[in-house]
């Protein structure tokens, strides 16, 4: 399968890339990992006139914690960089849990974290993770940089708040107020399939009590579902069997699954409840052990 003809540009600086987008009048797409864009172009769902390949721009492939604990993920950080990262394994459990479950191992060598956010697939793993973590996206355009909260970044399926002349250059996960705890579970029929149901949980715990909680889901609705009300009911409490059961039921209640070939809507809701219970129980057990 061939995409439609396009013009290829491979700028060496961010400023050049933005200038190309700015002159492209909305017919220009940014190519990072290409693991969503290239298949879309081959299927001719996407047919940009110009493709701006940002892979030759230096200093975009990074992920690091600032001294205050803020995590920054650059536009060319690949899924597998996060999967094999010691600092992520040590410092950001929700991302560490999700990284090995994104697509398949070969796609993970190319696909990027920030690119996934920009693709804005309602089934995307990273969007759920970012919502749970309360992350932000840094975008740069001709007028400079701005930051967009993840909850405002995605406007609809495959639609983001990016202007045509802006590039998402970094994802930011705020420093946790306490100890960062969390997890990600996904049910898929086989590796690389869309999620039947998946849940991202991100807690911050101080002195055995939850000080911040975020929970979000993918695969169980036409968009990433933010279960913030259910999650915030945990704030101020220590995790117990009782409040875990309550939250798991509340999260499942706000899922909007549809019955399809991957399972019935009831089944998917039940998966969500089970996953939330498993992640929270595992956090509760390890918190107890640490105390």
């Amino acid at each position: 399968m061939y995409p439609s003809r396009f013009k290829y540009e491979s700028p060496k600086t961010l400023a050049d890339a933005i200038a190309l987008l700015d002159s492209g009048a909305g017919e220009t797409k940014v190519l990072a990992g290409g693991q969503s864009l290239v298949p879309m172009m081959k299927l001719r769902f996407a047919f940009p006139g110009t493709v701006v390949d940002i892979n030759n721009i230096p200093d975009l492939n990074y992920h690091r914690f600032d001294s205050d604990g803020t995590l920054r993920i650059g536009a060319l950080c690949r899924h597998e960089d996060l999967e094999h990262s010691d600092v992520i394994a040590k410092g950001q459990p929700t991302i560490a849990a999700a990284a090995p479950l994104v697509a398949d191992p070969i796609v993970r060598t190319r696909g990027t974290f920030v690119g996934s956010l920009c693709h804005a697939d309602p089934q995307g793993d990273w969007a759920a993770v970012m919502i749970a973590l309360g992350g932000r996206v840094v975008v740069q355009g001709p007028k400079g940089k701005r930051e967009i909260a993840m909850k405002d970044f995605v406007l609809g399926p495959f639609q983001t708040a990016l202007e045509f002349n802006e590039i998402a250059i970094e994802a930011v996960i705020p420093a946790p107020a306490g100890q960062a705890r969390g997890g990600y579970l996904k049910l898929e029929r086989r590796v690389g399939d869309f999620a039947t149901a998946s849940v991202a949980v991100a807690l911050e715990i101080t002195g055995g009590k939850v000080v911040r909680a975020g929970i979000a889901m993918a695969g169980v609705g036409g968009k990433t579902i933010d279960a913030r009300d259910a999650a915030s009911s945990l704030v101020g409490q220590a995790l117990t069997e009782a409040n875990i059961a309550t939250v798991a039921a509340a999260v499942a209640a706000v899922a909007e699954p549809r019955s399809d070939h991957r399972g019935s809507s009831d089944y998917k809701r039940q998966i969500i409840r089970t996953f939330v219970t498993r992640i929270l129980t595992s956090i509760a057990n390890s918190t107890k052990k640490a105390a």
Binding site: G34, D53, D104
Partner: protein, 175 residues
Amino acid sequence: MTSLYEEISTPPAGDVPVRRVTINVNGQARTVDVEPRLLLAHLIRQGLKLTGTHTGCDTTNCGACTVLFDGRPIKSCTMFAVQADGHKVETVESLASASELHPIQEGFKEKHGLQCGFCTPGMMMAAKALLERNLNPTEDEIRWAISGNLCRCTGYQNIVKAILWAAEKMRAESK
């Protein structure tokens, strides 16, 4: 077809916006003119006539087109050839020397790691990427590493055994 990627001696055809790229393929610098929309898999197969790399699903699922790009496995149907400019690509043809099979190839032979053979080039390149990072993988780690490569014949059992066999041989050779 050939106007898409003729060798350097041929001038680009009319209005096709071609780019001249140099790619190190299996240790050899290859300079070709490519139209931006040409996929790396197609350059490898039709342009460079290295038909060991297969295209199966053409939708980033099956992994038959897996090659190494700067040492890491990629699906070559999901990258444009222009993106490989200045990079290093290894295909299944790089495994065997004139006189000897690579241990991974030997393993597939010894353990009957293939039936129809269509997925095999991709499987072997995924295995190579794994063994370059981990010469002592567990069965689970092997299954994980080839989970982006589909095989419709073997049920994977013998592919896993083949890679275990290759790992053992490569460990012995590296001592």
